[in-house]
């Protein structure tokens, strides 16, 4: 490509502007979480008091615990089911478009539609809603994401080594444990981390399937309620922590996946 100075300058300007647009709002939000003043926007000195006040807020701690339970349980179930699904799909030489669509659907269906569908379904079954119904719902999209990450890894998998292992007398379980699993493990962990983050951040479906009462409030629901009430530095502090957790999990997931590609 031609690389005249004017063109290079133009490209750099675009990058600077776009990254400024993407990161300034987050940077301001994070900076103000360390603001001593009660006003959420005007800077008046460094302080950690909003983080301290979070630690003393029982509602937020309960919400954080609920979120952790939902994310851990739904990730565990989704990782198991999603991985098995990925192996099952990829070991077939051909599969129908219907199967492909069914696996793909949870990733593209609008949240609000799945949310009202599950709300209608659970209330028609007269099921008392709570953390367990949020978990049931989160597994739906989590397993689709785990499956797609593991499938990507299996695309380059040589199935003849599975046959070789079987021919050499290994049982199906031994073959899985000694041959298939070591190959897909980084992708499985990457998928699990992705699922965990998606579950921690998910708001709409949790909001509709949590049922009445505050007992099953998750962190995003708590944040939504706080934002509707008004801006406080406490939200900034909470937001900073949640973002730090997501970013850490996803950077890890990305690294593992890069490791996969690099092999």
């Amino acid at each position: 490509m031609n690389s005249s100075p004017a063109r290079t300058l133009g490209m750099r300007t675009i990058l600077v502007l776009v990254f400024a647009f993407l990161y300034i709002p987050i940077a301001v939000l994070v900076a103000l979480s360390f603001n001593a003043g009660g006003l959420p926007t005007a800077w008046s000195g460094f302080s950690l008091k909003w983080y301290a006040s979070l630690a003393g807020n029982a509602a937020i701690l309960q919400a954080a615990l609920n979120t952790l339970i939902v994310a851990l349980v739904s990730t565990a179930i989704a990782t198991l089911l999603g991985t098995l699904l990925a192996i099952g799909v990829e070991m077939r030489r051909q599969y129908g478009k219907g199967l492909e669509a069914l696996i793909f659907a949870p990733m593209i269906i609008p949240d609000i539609v799945l949310a009202i569908a599950l709300l209608s379904f659970f209330s028609m079954l007269n099921l008392t809603m709570g953390l367990h119904t949020i978990i049931l719902a989160h597994v739906v999209f989590n397993l689709a994401f785990v499956c797609s990450v593991v499938r990507a890894r299996l695309k380059s998998f040589d199935w003849s080594i599975v046959e070789a292992s079987a021919d050499l007398g290994a049982s199906a379980i031994t073959t899985f444990r000694r041959v298939t699993l070591p190959v897909i493990l980084p992708a499985v962990i990457a998928g699990a981390l992705l699922a965990f983050t998606l579950s921690v951040d998910e708001f709409i479906i949790a909001f509709f399937t949590a049922g009445a009462g505050r007992a099953s409030t998750t962190l995003p629901m708590q944040i939504y309620a706080m934002i509707r009430f008004g801006i406080t530095p406490e939200i900034n502090a909470l937001a900073t922590i949640v973002m730090a957790v997501s970013v850490t999990a996803l950077t890890l997931s990305q690294r593992l996946n890069r490791g996969v590609i690099g092999q």
Binding site: V28, P110, I227, N236
Partner: protein, 296 residues
């Protein structure tokens, strides 16, 4: 062959897929079918559901009041899509023009915000746009003393929030075809005397349409069904389809109408996806043609 005994691989594959497919069927397919069915029932007098068949709910979707909200949503989502696609394409282009070793880094940081909490990213705009926010502070700092215009709770704020939230995906979608582009095609075009603009318009742009279409569909579909951004940045003053569905289920208690609205949303989404598939097919045809020309 049709009556052949099921092969062991196929059987094993089915067993492996069974738990996940059962989960998806029970908790996605059945509930969605239920919503579809719900849309054909009548709302009960006390907010429940009366099990008599009706097409009223779908008729109501086309009622001027609600059709207006649909058009309004389409306009807001369309504007956000246009801005996100132009900005995202420019960003992806700039990334693909950067040195090879830096490209994955730029891409990673472009997508990173997308993986943080949606509510938080939206909240960040409340912090920026409110009356005492950064933008107002900056205006004051530059000596502006008058009444600052309210930027929050406007249509512009809703559009800014949508663009901000979905831009990373557009960058990702546009980067894929741009990075695969054969530089020789652009060179050939220039050698044949085409200007940079013509080369872009006639060679680069047509070959990268699939990425643009994928990005555009994503932004449009997620924007038109959104209810968080209009609720938080529009202050409830800008109803979009998502908010309407939300209201029918959680406040108005008219589930059949809410279900009909959700089905209309799905219909719009499918329509948009089909258009994208069509565009992608045509672009693939063009790419094959261009490749044939280059090879021949």
């Amino acid at each position: 062959m049709r009556f052949a005994i099921v092969s062991p691989t196929r059987l094993r594959s089915s067993l492996l897929m069974a738990p996940a497919l059962a989960w998806l069927t029970a908790l996605m397919v059945v509930p969605c079918a239920l919503v579809l069915a719900l849309a054909f029932f009548r709302r009960g007098i006390y907010g429940g559901i009366e099990y008599t068949f009706t097409l009223e709910n779908f008729g109501l979707v086309f009622d001027p009041l609600y059709a207006g909200i649909f058009l309004n949503s389409a306009r807001i989502a369309g504007t956000a899509t246009l801005i996100a696609v132009v900005t995202g394409y420019a960003a992806a282009y700039a990334i693909s023009a950067a040195p090879r070793r830096l490209q994955p880094v730029f891409l990673f940081f472009a997508v990173l915000p997308f993986w943080s909490n949606y509510l938080i990213r939206t909240y960040a705009w409340i912090v920026l746009l409110n009356r005492e926010g950064l933008i107002t502070q900056l205006l004051r700092w530059f000596g502006y003393t008058g009444e600052t215009p309210s930027m929050l709770y406007t249509e512009g704020a809703v559009i800014a929030g949508l663009v901000y939230n979905y831009l990373p995906f557009v960058i990702l979608a546009c980067y894929a075809p741009l990075s695969r582009l054969n530089p020789e095609l652009a060179e050939a075009s220039r050698d044949l005397g085409a200007s940079a603009l013509t080369t872009f318009r006639r060679v680069i742009l047509p070959l990268t349409v699939p990425g643009i279409a994928a990005g555009a569909v994503f932004v449009f579909v997620l924007s038109i069904g959104n209810f968080v951004t209009p609720a938080l940045l529009g202050g409830g003053r800008f109803q979009m389809i998502g908010n309407l569905v939300y209201d029918q289920f959680l406040t108005a208690n008219d589930w059949p109408f809410g279900a009909a609205l959700a089905m209309a949303l799905i219909a719009i989404m499918l329509l948009v996806l089909m258009t994208q598939a069509l565009l992608a097919d045509r672009a693939a045809g063009r790419a094959a043609e261009a490749k044939g020309d280059a090879d021949g």
